[in-house]
């Protein structure tokens, strides 16, 4: 601890458990995330698990959910909700080999009702997995070197890394560091291997954290028994692309390169999206860029920053437990000083950088090494086989012939990367056959759209999102055409609740669910994620939304200045405040 600093410790880890919320006691008494998961998995009377075990399962990368479409029907039938599990993979930087893709696809067909979901943090989710299939699923993933550790829960979540398709050397280096950071920062309990791989207390050799922030705990040298106060998200951006929305990360790294070589990173802290309606004490927040570090300092910085949140984060109120609130409570300067104190040196001055977009440039590009890469638009990241669109089959067919890699993008898309020019015709043939990469005259707005999962699986959804945005966009395209804006890239993001899983608060058009058919409408987000948007309409239905878009897009088409983005325009034109 830093002796020089006086600060309020009444709500953090220094307090006895009884002064903290029950979740803290739950973690502390869970025997390092084991809880009674084994017993729960064996309970014949239900297809679900106990409430506590469900909370613990999150740290293992899975969630109990139920099909909300038939929840009420089953209630009447005196049947429990139709419980199944969502399983999220840990896939730093979203990099997948073709053989891994085939394995992931195969498991989706056997255990995931023929559905794969690309997420906004560059990984896959299975939905609808039956409890009795969880072990097999995780064991077969392990066979292709993939785990689900810390994919959810109060710990370091999936680490993101820019997937600019021009795959430069810098991107590769940054990816390597991102992967190392993820491996370093996830929890190390051997409970995971015991439960899922049936290994008798494996002698997992532990990663050693920075000495000065280590806890004296054998099983969790960094976290200790109570892990983090809340989820903690790390991401690496490589300018000019801000595809990962670095300002939305708890800890963001912005790569600084010098003549094609990675030099170091600017460090950003305290980003986050989640808010709760009509609870002003909760809010989205963009990260502050606080300094610069050398490339080889990333791991120590991760330990230092995470330990500050581990030690000072609010453990008395989960709605106030994210790092962004710690940063605001203590002040950025205090946080920075504490980080430097733990690092043992001061951060360098922020080195200049520039972002141009947080979207994905779609289609084919040639990388600096001459290899080719194609970004495929996957609407809302959902890979299934529907009449007329056999996306799941199409991607599988690609994986069967592709020799390079696949990259999951932060915008729920996929890049078929590292294609030798000679192989491109074959790849293109498969794409054509399955209608992949043909956007069918989709508007630039659709291609810059994201929607979270929401109904029917998400327990927190208040309104539709993934199942609704596509049709809403179709209606919006009518307005775009009327105003000649079809080709104008505008980001639109929808979520089924205010939690903000599709990062709606940094979209130029944001929609967050309030209740069935009702949304808050936001305008004014920065095109490359540099500015939060503002609420324009609260709790309104489709009619009001379309009316508002008709007016604002119409005005934009008429009155915009050359090169002016829609988000910037809505502010200049006074629809929303800066």
């Amino acid at each position: 601890m830093n002796p020089h600093k006086e600060t309020d410790r009444s709500r953090d880890r220094s307090q006895p458990l009884e002064n903290l919320i029950p979740d803290e006691t739950m973690k502390a008494t869970s025997n390092y995330l084991r809880g009674t998961i084994e017993e729960s998995l064996a309970d014949e009377v239900t297809a679900g698990v106990t409430e506590t075990d469900n909370k613990l399962l999150k740290f293992h990368g899975m969630y109990q959910q139920d099909d909300r479409d038939i929840r009420d029907e089953r209630r009447r039938q005196k049947l429990e909700p139709e419980y199944t599990f969502m399983v999220r993979l840990r896939l730093p930087g979203g990099v997948v080999s073709p053989s891994q893709w085939l394995a992931i696809d195969d498991l989706a067909r056997r255990y995931g009702r023929d559905s794969l979901r690309l997420t906004t943090r560059q990984t896959f989710q299975y939905h609808y997995v039956d409890r009795q299939n969880l072990k097999t699923l995780l064991q077969e993933l392990r066979d292709v070197l993939i785990d689900t550790k810390a994919a959810c829960g109060d710990d370091s979540r999936g680490v993101m890394s820019t997937v600019n398709p021009h795959l430069s050397e810098v991107h590769t280096q940054v990816y390597e560091i991102a992967k190392e950071a993820s491996d370093h920062a996830v929890h190390q309990t051997t409970g995971y291997e015991e439960i899922w791989y049936q290994e008798e207390r494996p002698a997992g050799e532990k990663k050693a954290p920075l000495k000065q922030v280590a806890s004296d705990d054998k099983e969790e040298p960094f976290y200790g028994k109570t892990y983090m106060p809340r989820k903690f998200k790390i991401g690496f951006a490589v300018p000019p692309s801000n595809d990962i929305d670095v300002y939305s990360q708890d800890l963001g790294f912005i790569a600084v390169a010098e003549d094609g070589k990675l030099k170091g990173f600017n460090v950003a802290v305290g980003g986050g999206m989640g808010r709760t309606d009509r609870a002003p004490e909760t809010y989205p927040r963009l990260a502050d860029v606080i300094g610069y570090v050398e490339a080889d300092q990333v791991i120590p910085v991760v330990d230092a920053v995470m330990s500050v949140q581990r030690d000072f984060g609010d453990r008395t109120n989960r709605a106030h437990a994210r790092f962004k609130y710690t940063v605001d409570d203590k002040g950025v300067d205090w946080i920075k000083a504490e980080i430097e104190h733990r690092l043992g040196y001061e951060l360098g001055p922020v080195s200049p950088y520039e972002f141009t977009s947080n979207g994905d440039p779609l289609g084919w590009v040639t990388g600096e090494d001459g290899r080719e890469h194609c970004t495929l638009f996957i609407q809302n990241g959902r890979l299934t086989n529907k009449p007329g669109s056999l996306l799941l089959d199409g991607m599988r067919a690609l994986a069967e012939i592709h020799k390079g890699t696949f990259l999951c993008t932060p915008n729920q898309n996929v890049i078929v990367a590292d294609v030798e020019p000679a192989d491109r015709p074959a790849i293109e043939a498969v794409m054509k056959e399955h209608g992949l990469g043909e956007f069918g005259g989709a508007s630039a707005l659709r291609l810059n759209s994201m929607a979270c999962v929401a109904f029917p699986t998400c327990a927190l959804a208040m309104a539709e999102s993934e199942r609704y945005l596509p049709e809403l966009v179709t209606k919006v395209e009518g307005i775009l055409d009327a105003n000649g804006l079809r080709e104008e890239p505008i980001t639109i993001r929808m979520t089924g609740c205010p939690n903000g899983c599709a990062r709606p608060y940094i979209a130029e058009i944001g929609l967050t669910g309030r209740a069935p058919g009702k949304y808050n409408l936001y305008f004014g987000g920065g095109f490359h994620g540099e500015r939060l948007n503002k609420m324009y309409l609260e709790n309104v239905g489709e009619e009001a939304i379309l009316k508002a878009l008709e007016e604002t897009l119409g005005a934009y088409a008429r009155d915009r200045e050359p090169g002016e983005r829609f988000g910037d325009f809505t502010i200049r034109a006074g629809y929303v405040a800066e």
């Binding site: 014949e44 009377v45 239900t46 297809a47 038939i70 929840r71 009420d72 029907e73 089953r74 209630r75 009447r76 039938q77 005196k78 049947l79 429990e80 139709e82 009509r278 309030r514 209740a515 069935p516 058919g517 009702k518 609260e538 709790n539």
Partner: protein, 621 residues
Amino acid sequence: MTALKTSSPELTGPILTTTQLEQVSRLASSLNQQQAIWVSGYFAGLSQQAPAALLAPDAMLAPGVGSHEAPAAVPGTRLTTILYASETGNSKELAGSLADAAKAEGIEAKVADVADYKVRSLKDEQDLLIVAATHGEGDPPQTALDFFEFLEGRKAPKLPEVRFAVLALGDSTYEHYCSAGRRVDERLAELGAERIAERVDCDVDYEDDAEEWIASIVGQLVASRPESDGAATNGAVAVPAAGGVSTPSAFSKKNPFSAEVIDNLVLTGRGSTKETRHVELSLEDSGLDYQPGDALGVVPQNDPALVSTLIEKLSLDAEAEVTVKKEPASLTDALTGGFEITAATPRFLEHWAELADSAELRALCGTDQAKERTAFLHDHHVLDIIDRFPAPGVEAEQFTAGLRPLQPRLYSIASSLAAAPDEVHLTVSTVRYSLHDLERTGVASGYLAGLTDEDATVPVYVQSNDHFHLPDDDAPILMIGAGTGVAPYRAFMQEREERGADGKSWLFFGERNFRSDFLYQVEWQAMLKNGSLDRLDLAFSRDAAEKVYVQDRLRARGRDVYAWLEEGASVYVCGDATYMAPDVNTALTDLIAEHGGFDEDGAQEYLADMRRNHRYRLDVY
């Protein structure tokens, strides 16, 4: 006191014998006011869980037995209950503060989430305070849906004795502001309850309004303490209604009661290979009375479509007069309600062989043709026979003469009067099959499946089933049932729950698929949780590669099962007679032999002995 006197005249007539009446009046005249209130409340309490308690004489000794503490058993206090309907916890928290505030004034209130609240106790409430939030688009919280459905449904009791007040939580940015709270408030008034205070609607900044409301409500309660206004408003000072003491019902198999269908839903979930229904009927004003384990007789009607098909195929006049049970009736009515017209009998075969003058049919009637005949009858029902073997010019009366009278069907009762007064619940598996490419349904199960509209009624009677009743409250019970065989166990457990019986209980249930066919799943889960059901073992035959049935689960648990038998457990077997019952019998014999160290005969004797002592009871069909 006065209450007893003025109303005693009602008690003459059939309800009480003259001696009983004398006893009551003697008692009455010997009581002071307080005692009178106590006694009346005590009887009112008894009447809640009649007939059970009335059948268990020892229950007479303690007041407040059974379903609900007899309200006025403790003189001078009113029963105060605080309910909350909450999703994100605000209403719950406020309900807590309300209880504390009341406590500070010496008012002990019971606080409950409507999700866990036994809606049937509503009518026993006196002061009912409700904090309700609104969610979705003006909907009640998820957990409160059952409560709202009951309250706003036809099953909701009149509540003239209840006083209430409602605090509504909401968010004024929503179209349907506080609508859930408003609905409870209006409905309670509609049911005759007395509003203590106007409803208050709170926005998301509910703290101050809520505080004010709590203060004023507690004020009201204090002001209206029974001390201050005597027992006049005291709900329990009503004399036991006739319903309390069971009188022989006028209805019987001969004269079935036309029961209103109050609920009729499919229990089996999506993707099920079956259709099993839960049917709730009202016995209100029927005077019908039953015990868990009894069955309900259902008098069905044939499918009108089948009736007209038959009439057409035989080219008969629908209005032609025929005799049913010595009474004249139109052919249509006769075929609808008078005769079995699906499966055919050997007698019909003989009869039709002559009318159709068919050698082939005559041949099947030969005494040595038993096997062939059964096979033939299995896939040739009345319709198929008249179709394949026409009898030109046959008369209506000639046709019906070959049919047997339509039989009522029995269904195990799946409810307990203690838990569901004036109701009877059934668990019905709809018989559907196709024969000669024609979709067909079982007469009674198909008929019941069709009774889904608002004012549907069905003629029923109670078929008591003495050999399948519960043992003493403290005796352990082992309940084994597959499919609809689980029905009586629902009644058993409801009864034991209501009576607070302390005997252990263990259910073995089997069906095809866990997800869709786990009949009454959430109810069993709740009973396991609250400890009224001790053990539950399940066998789903179509979930895994190797089929498991209840008898396999019995074997697997052999040691414990035998231990229970040794502790004097009664074993119940209900459901399929053809396969399950025999297999269960074998399994029991085997496990008794294995764990009791008997040879086969010994084990069989052990079971036979249990049967003689009514500890091994079957209800199979």
